[in-house]
Amino acid sequence: MITRFLLQGMDRNLRLFVLLVLAIGIALPLLNQIMPPSSPFYVPAWLLQLIGKYLSFALLALAVDLVWGFCGILSLGHGAFFALGGYCMGMYLMRQIGSRGVYGNPLLPDFMVFLNYKELPWFWYGFDNFGFAMLMAILVPSLLAFALGWFAFRSRVTGVYLSIITQAMTFALMLAFFRNDMGLGGNNGMTDFKEILGFSVQADSTRAVLCFASAFTLALGLVVSAAIVGSRFGKALTAVRDAESRMRFLGYRVEGYKLFVFVFSAAMAGVAGALYVPQVGIINPSEFSPANSIEAVLWVAVGGRGTLIGPVIGAFIVNFGKTWLTGALPEFWLFALGALFIVVTLLLPKGVVGLWGQIKARSQAKKARAPA
């Protein structure tokens, strides 16, 4: 039953793509581990970390696409869910530092010590347990999404209005987390992590594993999303995107559909955040900044909304470009990035994947003509 459910949405391209993601997730870490640094095939740790980061971004992009591309809800607040997931992971990693902090306080993280905290705030309890932290990384974003969606969808807040309130949400959260009184590290957030599950976060082996974990989770995310989209639920979902009121007159409770995807995608974003933090080694309030959420949307647009492969490709293109250009032409990379966004929205409304599709269609048309 479940396997049937999981496989129903997978077409051939997608199967190949998922395999490719897994291949990357396995090959690169292996190359890093077994190859000697001298070998041309050696994958340096920094590249591994980069890929890991892209992979978690790709997962975030997929989450955004699920609500935007398939249900027409443009959320400008997914960065918030991502960051919340990240904070849960961050709190776990913070607790793992234990007495290795500069003040050697066995219980309190450094930032609490020099802000004269006497004991651990209540919401920090339990985060020394990995399982609990991961559960929270999924639950906290989901609950927030549920609360927001429950009201918003029932009172039929749609389109731009929804986008704006999601933006307001992430903006408010950013301001809140900037406050040192939140007890979450204020502007500096959390950093200088030591261990995850007892393995040093700085060890190449750990990075290899994290990179693989990200790839695996992304693959899983793709499969599940495909299943949802391919199900009769998915058909209804896209129908809601295209003609919401028509669906109502057919007797569908549109709210339920929207709420489910919204919450699911928020949870996915949370997981992405949790994977992101140990690989970049810092989590802080700027992750909540509205700009980040908008950028995530742009990854989707670049890759191709409404497809499952698109967001992943988009996330990789944009972030690879960013990494490369901030080094190659630091003074001008913003021009390039901005131009990319403009060009894509103007010329490639279906994104890169769409372009690829058009090219393929054209070449087939040629073939068809050829024999005549």
Partner: protein, 537 residues
């Protein structure tokens, strides 16, 4: 300073009239020499001595010193007063007061003072200027002495009071005297009536005096009276404070209105989510900067008019670029509002970086013309001219815009096109042209906002970023497509914000406002003033 010194100052003031200046001229030179030599400590003694000399020249020299216009010429160690004109300084000899040509900072050593010395000088000059022929100066001196409330200035005040004619200044002086009395060891009776007098002022300064007395006084009777007076004053001030908050709210609201109103057009009536709106504001601010730069270098006397000159230019620049954007990007995206969001976001990145590469990434100075700097008291309300003008300006912009929409053909076309595009074009309205103009208008207004904001905020490439989100909140809160909604929305948010701030603090206040907006949208998904009816669907 010690009572003895002030007394000396005062006596000499009276004496100086009688005594012949010539005799003292010699040691005036000596005094001034001391003034320029040594560290701040020596300088202080020199100042008081100079004041004590009672020379007519003393006051101008000390004022020059206080305002950092007293120089020693490197070549001949001559002490000069330098008033800036252009890049040069026009010089007059300190002692004789005759002109000594001009020079540059490089050829001169400025005689340095610090806050403490400025205080000392003011006191010295202050007790001198109590007798000044200029009424404004006398009044200023009295006010200064009231704030200083130094028992030592009593004597000076008594003399001045005796000589004073103008009742208002007399009042000020007697209040200053009362304050000084409270600082002195005068008998209880005097102190009590002094308290009564001070109490009538019922403003911050008098509160300060009363509190200080309440704390310091030994005599229980005085203590009680002062405390009572202080409490009474506090209550009056509390009422004023509420009013002050409203004013702050309105002025914050007017800033929001300025930033949002352009958006209300592009977003509200055209449905374009213009993420580059903030950058239009920024362009307006930079236009102001450029205008001022040109004026500074080529026509300094025009400086006070710089903003008025900048306004039309900013409108044209921002509006023009707006039209380019509409023709180049937006027009391909009508009916895809969320896509306009993405494209214009990319655009905002480009514009920011462009400005950064042209003007550099650091802040640019935009000066305030004289008519926009400073503040005035309305009862206990402190209203700064800058803010006042911004409020006025934002309302003017708002009203003009309404008129444009209601009364001009462009406005008519705009409404026609936004209500029913095909019908409008069928009736021969050139809709593309109208679109371009509408967008240009919106952007132009953003440019105007930039001119105003340059007065209160950073002129930096990030200027726009700070306002874009707030602007969207305002428009959505007020109700898209409804300018009055925008007005009300902006003012409401401003006032609410300012009333929360004292209790919740700046950050929490803002957060609460955002949460409030989110909840409000749940209640009224289409904002404060929504358009009802079938046309919405």
């Amino acid at each position: 300073m010690s009572p003895k010194r002030i007394l000396a100052v005062l006596l000499s003031v009276l004496a100086s009239a009688a005594l012949a200046g010539a005799a003292l001229a010699a040691d005036l030179a000596g005094l001034i020499a001391n003034l320029t030599a040594g560290g701040f400590g020596e300088r202080e003694t020199a100042i008081t001595a100079l004041a004590a000399s009672g020379e007519q020249r003393a006051a101008p020299i000390l004022e020059a010193l206080a305002s950092g216009q007293l120089y020693v010429r490197k070549s001949d160690n001559l002490v000069l007063i330098g008033k800036p004109d252009g890049n040069q300084l026009s010089l007059t000899e300190a002692i004789s007061g005759k002109t000594a040509g001009s020079g540059t900072e490089a050829e001169l050593d400025r005689v340095r003072v610090n806050n403490r010395l400025r205080g000392v000088i003011e006191a010295a000059v202050g007790s001198l200027t109590l007798m000044s022929p200029d009424a404004r100066v006398r009044r200023g001196a009295a006010e200064a002495l009231f704030k200083r409330r130094d028992a030592a200035s009593l004597a000076a005040l008594d003399v001045a009071l005796a000589a004073e004619k103008d009742p208002r200044i007399k009042r000020a002086m007697s209040e200053a005297r009362a304050a000084s009395v409270l600082a002195s060891d005068a008998p209880t009776a005097q102190k009590l009536e002094a308290i009564a007098l001070v109490r009538e002022r019922a403003d911050r300064d008098s509160l300060g005096v009363l509190d200080a007395t309440a704390n310091s006084a030994t005599d229980p009777e005085v203590k009680a009276a002062a405390a009572a007076g202080a409490n009474a004053t506090r209550q009056t001030l509390a009422a004023w404070e509420a009013a002050q908050n409203v004013w702050y709210g309105i002025s914050l609201g007017s800033v929001l209105l300025l930033a949002a109103i352009g958006l209300a057009i592009t977003f509200g009536t055209m449905g374009v989510i213009n993420m580059a709106h903030g950058e239009m504001v920024m362009l307006g601010a930079y236009t102001t900067f450029v205008v001022q730069e040109i004026i500074r270098t080529s026509a300094p006397h025009l400086f006070d008019a710089s903003l008025l000159i900048a306004l039309p230019l900013a409108f044209v620049v921002a509006g023009g670029i707006g039209i380019l954007i509409e023709r180049g990007i937006i027009r391909f995206l009508y009916g895809r509002p969320l896509d306009t969001l993405l494209a214009t976001w990319g655009l905002s990145l480009v514009l920011q970086q462009a400005v950064r590469s042209i003007f550099g990434s650091s802040n640019r100075e935009v000066g305030a013309p004289s008519w926009m700097s400073g503040a005035f008291q309305l009862g206990q309300l402190n209203i700064t001219y800058g803010r006042l003008w911004i409020v006025v300006f934002s309302l003017i912009v708002f009203v003009t815009l309404i008129l444009v929409l209601r009364k001009t053909p462009l406005g008519l076309y705009m409404r026609a096109v936004t209500q029913n595009r095909p019908m409008a074009s069928a009736m021969g309205i050139r809709t593309p042209r109208v679109d371009a103009l509408t967008f240009g208008l919106g952007s132009g207004i953003a440019g105007l906002a930039g001119v105003a904001l340059s007065q209160i905020d950073n002129v930096s490439p990030n200027l726009g970023q700070g306002y874009i989100i707030d602007s969207f909140m305002v428009v959505v809160f007020g109700g898209v497509g409804n300018l009055f909604g925008t007005l009300i929305g902006a003012l409401t948010l401003g006032v609410v914000n300012k009333f929360l701030e004292p209790y919740a603090g700046a950050v929490l206040g803002k957060i609460l406002v955002l949460v409030f907006i989110i909840l409000f949208i749940q209640r009224r998904p289409r904002g404060l003033f929504a358009l009802k009816g079938r046309s919405v669907e």
